[in-house]
Amino acid sequence: MVPVVRAGAVAGLGALALLAGEATAYKLGLIAIVFIGAIGLHILVNWSGELSLAHAGFIGLPAFVVAQLSLHAHLSPILALPLGVVAGVLLGLVVALAALRARGLQVALVTLAVGIAISRFFFVRSWVIGPPAGLHIAPPSLFGLRLETSRSLLPVLMAVVVLAVLASRSILESKLGRALSLVRSNPDAAAAVGIPVAFYRGAVYAMAGAFAGLAGASYVLWVQRISPKAFPLDLGFTYLVIAVLAGKGALTGVALAAVLIEGGQVFSILPRDFALYAGPVALIFNVTRYQEGFNGLLRETRHRLERKVAIMAAETGTADGERRWRGWGARGVRLPVVIAALLVAAGFVAVALAWYHAGNTDQVWIQNQEMVSGGIGGLGLIVLGCVLLLRDALLHGRAVVATSHTGVAGADGDADWLGASGPEPPAKEPAGPEPEGTPTGRGRRTVAAGSKGRGDTR
């Protein structure tokens, strides 16, 4: 349920982004870039309990590397993204050297010194930062299509964000992630178990550098202009605020914090003073008292929701509680179905809007971009929505079992949207263990039942 909601929310936001105007799409991209950079610091701060004050430099130096390569080697910024990652990793490894023997505190001070050194040494060298006018990169092109506007570049950036999220999730859910958790909470126990603590602590700095490098390269891709003033030292503090406010856990908290802080700044929603005061105050509060950050808030909310559902299910009996949890209305309309339908509709709207805009200009390049952002992006949304619908149908569609369930209310009314009928009451089921209330459980049960009956339609 939650993964579907998450995927739906993400895709929904993507849909909204594609429908946005040029200026708004540009600002959304800036938020996405900050999110990518914050992922790296999140792993570092929240998962392994280290601190890095050099994040601005970790983002800026790879950004300059990518920009220079773009200009001089005529490499498209899209192709240069991995090079940005590599540059970031190398920077992280420099700090990792220090982390080999020292405690977190000393390493943090080293990162401060490294950040200052990058800012005062590299960002004044003209072979790094280019001419005083700054570096201007030509708009990137993909498959021969020049992506001049932010709206057309947005799907590319969203793909990069998705890649970053998938990469970080695979890191955090792997052996490395578990080891980092243990290192953070009890380094001595971790060492006793055989985890190479120093090596992992160094690797974490490299990872933070990798994501920072990706963020820097994305910045070059997105803004197409770069100057050392874009990466001052207090940018690193902003990222630190985002990471600490996110709290330990998944990336949702990071996304929330990034949207709040960078979105607030870029869209100028909140008065600037309020945002500048609120950030540090929230940080102090989080560090000294709450310590869980946005991820903690989200976890609490989810637990509360789940408790409520469990209570509902317990007090009214499984089938009804099931139904209330799964959907509402007589037909049992489920949330994933609603999300998927909305996605498909949004996809069509995006395509239609792109059509409309493309038709209102006589400039070929604008038409191309509308096609890319609205057309292809909208098509993607439609496909995603249909895939979700298909998944839902496969999970909830039922073959009916020819066993004695006459007059059982649930068997009739609880049909899914495709017309197949719902679950049977557990008492009548002779089949084996039945995990209740899970779609796969139901599927298994009815498949097992179906094998006894007329036909297995799966």
Binding site: G49, E50, L51, L53, V94, V95, L97, A98, L100, R101, A102, R103, G104, L105, Q106, V107, A108, L109, V110, L112, A113, V114, I116, A117, S119, R120, F121, F122, V124, D234, F237, L240, V241, V244, D273, L276, Y277, G279, P280, V281, L283, I284, V287, T288, R289, Q291
Partner: protein, 292 residues
């Protein structure tokens, strides 16, 4: 050349003085106070407001050093105590990294307030002591620099005496060495901790007032200097007062000499960073160990 070395000596005194304050806090609370410079900056700006040295002052007449200086010191101490209560005390169990983040946040808060109140322009300020200065080795040593030298000597001597000869000093040393044992033997660690932070805050305020006539004063003036002080304090392992001070002085001299000989922009910062990496790899505990 000797001019340059002398100038570097005075610059180094500034770094050393700031490093001492950082060490004092770390010894007791095991927290690196990233807001140390900003504490002093706020107190200094309040001082100059009272003395009308700046051009956005609230007050319309010069209230004189006798009122302004103690006010600044008290303000610095008050900010230190507030930080102790709000940041250091809740984090006593797990101070290091969370404490750093907390003090970074406090520093950001102070800077935001200062920018809001005073703007970010550089302003010329009135020195504490007027006068023509002394000519020494080709350098006209201004009264402000002499004052720093004198005050540093007094402060270091006073701190040394405090730690060695007074009971407060004994309590401070005990708490620094082992807070749990100190608490067990009846020392009021809360009061000791508060006293330390208040002392450090006042020291920061005094440093700021002394340093201001010598540098370009805007709301970031202490921050930039404190960054060098961190490196110096690290050499002293963050626990040795003399180690941190001497490292600061040497850093100032080295910086001056390097700037004179080969003025490559940013070379000092790059060398400091490399030096810190090597230091932390080779001797993470610092070059100088404190003997409490």
């Amino acid at each position: 050349m000797s001019t340059v070395v002398l100038n570097g000596l005075f610059v180094g005194l500034v770094y050393g003085l700031l490093a001492v304050g950082l060490v004092v806090i770390y010894r007791t609370s095991r927290i690196v106070n990233f807001a140390y410079g900003e504490t002093g900056m706020l107190a200094t700006f309040a001082y100059f407001d009272l003395r009308l040295g700046t051009n956005t002052s609230t007050f319309t007449r010069d209230h004189g050093v006798a009122l302004a200086l103690p006010t600044a010191l008290v303000l610095g101490a008050a900010i230190g105590v507030a930080m102790e209560l709000l940041i250091a005390r809740p984090l006593r169990a797990n101070p290091t990294l969370n404490g750093m983040v907390g003090t970074i946040a406090a520093g950001l808060l102070f800077i935001t307030f200062a920018v809001h109140r005073w703007g970010i322009e550089v302003r010329p300020v009135k020195p504490l002591v007027e006068g023509a200065g002394v000519r020494l080795l080709g350098l006209t040593v201004s009264p402000s620099q002499l004052l720093i030298g004198a005050c540093t000597a007094v402060i270091l001597g006073g701190l040394g005496a405090l730690y060695r000869f007074t009971s407060l000093g004994l309590r401070l040393r005990a708490t620094a060495l082992n807070p749990y044992a100190a608490a067990l033997s009846g020392i009021n660690t809360n009061a000791t901790s508060m006293a330390t932070w208040a002392m450090a805050g006042a020291l920061s305020a005094l440093s700021g007032v002394l340093i201001a006539p010598l540098v370009a004063v805007n709301v970031f003036f202490m921050t930039l200097l404190t960054l060098r002080a961190f490196a110096a304090a690290l050499v002293g392992g963050l626990t040795s007062i003399w180690g941190g001070f001497l490292a600061g002085v040497l850093l100032g001299v080295a910086e001056s000499v390097v700037a004179f000989k080969s003025p490559v922009a940013g070379i000092t910062d790059a060398v400091i960073a490399l030096g810190m990496i090597v230091l932390v790899m080779a001797r993470p505990g610092g070059l100088v160990r404190a003997d409490y």
